[in-house]
């Protein structure tokens, strides 16, 4: 029963992290290339456009929820399971979400990278 809670907690953390990353990525694509924008319009336009983008706030809110659910999950399960499992599943979840929601071209090279990094993170933190 305890492990069910732990894995449930891990999945909630992964869900909010993936939502946060994807929504923030969308927000920044809507803002546009920050380097170009800075050169043409100045820093204040970059800051104004970023803070004026509703997706930016949704993304930050999702990240905050991910952080607090991580705290809950850590109180249910061991840190040596929860932290690496959440981090490495987030890499895989992000690859799927970026493909379907951001329409990024996740080719074989990127799948291999996501799986290698996810495996590496699990080994490092485990």
């Amino acid at each position: 029963m305890k492990s069910l809670y732990t894995w449930g907690g891990i999945l909630v953390v992964v869900f909010f992290s993936v939502v946060g990353d994807v929504v923030l990525a969308r927000a920044m694509k809507q803002v546009g290339d920050v380097h170009d924008l800075w050169e043409r319009r100045g820093l204040w336009t970059v800051i104004g456009r970023t803070l004026g983008n509703p997706n930016f706030f949704f993304g930050v809110a999702a990240m905050a929820l991910a952080f607090f659910s991580l705290l809950f999950a850590l109180s249910w399960g061991d840190v040596s399971l929860v932290a690496p499992a959440a981090a490495s599943l987030t890499f895989i979840g992000n690859a799927f979400a970026a493909k379907f929601f951001l329409h990024e071209k996740v080719d074989r090279r990127r799948w291999i990278a996501a799986v290698l990094v996810a495996g590496g993170v699990a080994l490092l933190a485990g």
Binding site: R109, R110, L123
Partner: protein, 149 residues
């Protein structure tokens, strides 16, 4: 990819690793915080290690947002995962902690993943509506500039 963009990716990597380790160091000096003693949070924030850690994590967030404005999420995440490797190396060589063979294997896997993604393109070529507007504006102003010349 310009030099400046590589610098931003390096910033994401280094700021995250440095910020996390400073926060962790500061919080260990401070002792645990409980919901019933919230004044502990204020004491924690006033700890110089924690304060610098927070500033570094803000710098991480700014460079992460910067990177996401010109590169795909599935490029930025693996490319900046070298931070995990950096942390392990700092643990080994600066803090003289034991790094187990399993962890070295983890370092190898992450480095392999990074080299895989770094050889590909950073951004999927599909114009976003807003970015497109900007791009058209640039083309128009460039054309106007060209006409003047």
């Amino acid at each position: 990819m310009t030099f400046r963009k590589y610098l931003v990716l390096a910033g994401v990597t280094v700021f995250a690793a440095a910020g996390d380790s400073m926060l962790s160091h500061g919080m260990k000096q401070n002792g645990s915080i409980s919901v019933h003693h919230l004044q502990g949070v204020i004491a924690a924030v006033l700890n110089p290690w924690v304060a610098v850690g927070i500033v570094l994590l803000l710098a991480f967030f700014a460079s992460y947002m910067n990177a996401l404005s010109w590169a795909d999420l599935t490029y930025v995440l693996p490319a900046t995962s070298l931070g995990y490797v950096l942390l392990a190396l700092v643990a080994k060589f600066a803090l003289h902690e034991q790094v187990s063979p399993l962890r070295w294997m983890g370092i190898a896997l992450i480095s392999g993943g990074v080299s895989f993604v770094a050889r590909g393109p950073a951004l999927t070529a599909h114009p976003h509506p807003e970015a497109q507007e900007d791009a058209q504006e640039t083309v128009v102003s460039a054309a106007a500039g060209g006409a003047k010349r």
